[in-house]
């Protein structure tokens, strides 16, 4: 009896950690895609999540049916992603990566400020897709929306993998990530590829933002903390490694929920970051970061 109560508890923490972790993973994946193609750490990645969520809330409030609002919101976020590349990153081509990172910080502050004016400063939610009544799995209460988030992440991952490995354009992205110079020589238009990674990253962010808002709520400044956590996930998994980003995100989410549940909620964030530090001390390239990442 005691053991089963413990199992239930652990299961509850696992679901909690996976749901939150899926969000971190998606942000981390967005970071990774752009980083691989352009060596830019796009700290405005969290803003795409916010844009997707807030646009859906406001388009739905304006009377659009929810599915239409969601699709439009994803498009809005993609336009923002493309604009970020076109108007902020592309003109600074050839600048130091540090300068580009600072540009993305500026862009994230700009997007947040814009959202504050265009939307508002309040917290918002979206209705869950399959009701708010939790499903009991092995004694743990799980929101149907958590399963939607996890399933959505899976679909996105499989889709992204197929796109990267099975389509010519996807392979061009991989090629450009591996060696921009060689990719250019075989006729791949690298600037277009970089723009495409911004597009895909903003799509990723918007989708996860929309899926997760019924659970986590959203507001104009929801992106900041996500960018931080997503960045930690990237470091944990190994920068530049897409599976590593996903693993890092999920582990970070699990570390937070188990840390809060089993050790102390007071030091929840600290526990997650201690794990991050430990991993970086033992494996400076992150869990899945290999030596092959060395670039000159």
């Amino acid at each position: 009896m005691r053991a089963s109560a413990m199992t239930t508890e652990l299961l509850q923490f696992t679901f909690s950690g996976l749901t939150v972790g899926a969000v971190y993973a998606s942000v981390a994946l967005g970071f990774t895609l752009i980083y691989n193609a352009s060596h830019v750490v796009n700290l405005a990645q969290g803003e795409f999540v916010m844009l997707g969520a807030m646009s859906t809330v406001f388009l739905a409030a304006a009377g659009l049916p929810l599915p239409v609002a969601m699709i439009l919101a994803v498009l809005i976020s993609m336009v923002a992603g493309l604009a970020l590349h076109r108007f902020a990153i592309a003109p600074a081509r050839g600048a130091d990566p540090i300068a580009l990172i600072i540009i993305t910080i500026g862009a994230s502050i700009f997007l947040r400020g814009l959202a504050q004016i265009v939307f508002d400063k309040r917290f918002h939610s979206l209705p869950p897709w399959f009701g708010a009544e939790p499903i009991v799995i092995g004694g743990a209460a799980v929101l149907p929306q958590s399963l939607v988030v996890l399933a959505g992440m899976l679909v996105v991952l499989v889709g992204l993998w197929l796109f990267m490995t099975r389509t010519l354009f996807g392979r061009a992205i991989l090629a450009a990530s591996n060696n921009p110079m060689a990719a250019t020589l075989v006729g791949i238009n690298v600037p277009v590829i970089v723009a495409a990674t911004f597009l895909i990253s903003s799509l990723l962010g918007a989708v996860v933002g929309i899926l997760v808002t019924p659970i986590t709520l959203t507001s104009y400044d929801a992106g900041t903390i996500l960018a931080l956590k997503g960045f930690a996930a990237v470091m944990l998994g190994g920068i530049g490694n897409p599976p590593g980003a996903v693993l890092g995100g999920l582990l970070l989410g699990l570390a937070e929920s188990f840390g809060a549940g089993l050790i102390s909620s007071q030091y929840k964030d600290a526990i997650a970051f201690v794990i991050l530090l430990a991993v970086l001390l033992l494996r400076p390239r992150g869990l899945l970061g290999g030596a092959a990442l060395e670039r000159v």
């Binding site: 109560a5 508890e9 509850q12 923490f13 679901f15 909690s16 749901t19 939150v20 969000v23 504050q116 400063k121 309040r122 917290f123 918002h124 939610s125 708010a132 939790p134 209460a141 929101l143 997760v212 659970i215 986590t216 709520l217 507001s219 400044d221 929801a222 903390i225 929920s257 188990f258 809060a260 549940g261 909620s265 007071q266 929840k268 964030d269």
Partner: protein, 382 residues
């Protein structure tokens, strides 16, 4: 030659100075620093709108004793450093007669020393008891303290014969301060704190903490001291885990928005709140009913937004100051301060204020109502 130039400059300067001082005699400057953007914008935005509305209203009615009011308002974005900078500017450059505002405890505490030094009365909208205890000569505040919120909740727990509570408190200033006040006040009410958890202000999930509370034997009620989205997430997770014991949240989330965000989980949740929240549901003979309805009507007409408790703090603060200025023999800061301290029986939206040299807030527990959320609305708990 030089003398003539100097002379004409001096004459011009006199004229300019004369013209300025002439204009100023007609105008009382009221300073304000609120957090109308940033993380505390939920507080500061309605406060800014309320102050602007009230100043406009008083000026339209001919001002105070014939003097027009001028509102000098800055937005600190929730940043205590910025608040302090603006406070210095209000004191040194804008030469305001009185300052109303300071949306959070953090910004208020950063500004208080500036106005203490400059000897300008300062009416804050901050919740924490530290603002007025120990009493500072020039600092006042309108909202109930977090200690009073705790006492109200404990009184209700006593009435329900519940005594063992668990806390899930926010790690932000508001959550920490209220948790500390509650834990300190608990023994006086025979309340035992059997378990404690915390959450970060931006946490998106609190099921691990609530799972622990649920599995802790003997917990009879849960209290979530916090502000912003945190308590809404907590209430959602409480419903998700189907926890059976009653749940209390703080006066810091007393808005319709909270009910919308917390969803179905909010049903049956109790919180201490100001009379403003009940509006039309106040008893016909309630002394606060007229002022509550007046403010609600005016605010909603002016802004097109539902009234919020945070705006109510600004309403009470401004009206107490305005009444004091009407009574004061001059528009000097010191004269206004003395009259604010003499405020007696002022009926505001948050309660009936009786200030004294020992009490710079002047509210008692009667201003607080225990309300329960039922079917998406507030219901007064008798």
């Amino acid at each position: 030659m030089v003398g003539r130039i100097l002379g004409s400059v001096a004459i011009a300067a006199t004229l300019v100075a004369g013209g300025w001082s002439g204009a100023r005699a007609e105008e009382i400057r009221i300073g304000s620093v609120v957090s109308s953007t940033g993380p505390a914008s939920l507080l500061g935005d309605p406060q800014k709108r309320t102050l602007e509305m009230l100043v406009e209203d008083i000026n339209a009615k001919g001002g105070i004793k014939g003097n027009k009011l001028k509102l000098v308002l800055y937005d600190d974005g929730g940043d205590a450093n910025a608040a302090r900078t603006f406070a210095t500017r209000l004191a040194e450059e804008d030469k305001v007669a009185v300052v109303i505002g300071g949306s959070t405890t953090g910004t208020t505490m950063a500004m208080a020393p500036v106005f203490e030094d400059a000897e300008i009365p300062f009416m804050s909208f901050a919740g924490a008891i530290q603002v007025i205890k120990p009493v500072r000569k020039w600092v006042f505040k309108t909202p109930h303290t977090d200690l009073m919120a705790c006492e109200k909740i404990f009184t209700d727990l006593n009435a329900r014969k519940l005594s063992k509570v668990a806390f899930l408190s926010g790690t932000d200033g508001f959550g920490k301060s209220m948790r500390d006040q509650c834990v300190a006040a608990a023994p006086k009410f025979g309340i035992e704190v059997v378990h404690e958890e915390t959450y970060g202000p931006r946490d998106a999930d609190m099921t691990p903490q609530l799972t622990n509370i649920k599995n802790k034997a003997g917990v009879q009620a849960i209290i979530i001291p916090g502000i912003g989205q945190g308590p809404a997430i907590g209430v959602r997770n409480y419903k998700q885990l189907a926890i059976a014991v009653p749940l209390y949240v703080s006066h810091g989330v007393a808005s319709k928005e909270f009910i919308a965000l917390a969803g179905e989980g909010a049903e049956g949740v109790r919180l201490p709140a100001a009379a403003l929240l009940l509006g039309e549901k106040l008893a016909a003979d309630d002394p606060q009913r007229p002022v509550v309805l007046d403010y609600t009507k005016a605010y909603e007409k002016k802004t097109g937004q539902p009234v919020s408790g945070f705006g109510g703090f600004a309403y009470d603060g401004f009206m107490i100051v305005a009444e004091a200025m009407k009574r004061a023999p001059s528009n000097k800061p010191a004269a206004i301060r003395d009259e604010i301290e003499k405020t007696k029986g002022f009926v505001g939206v948050d309660g009936i204020y009786n200030m004294s040299p020992q009490d710079h807030m002047g509210l008692d527990l009667s201003g607080f109502r225990m309300v329960e959320i039922r079917k998406g609305d507030w219901v007064a708990v008798p």
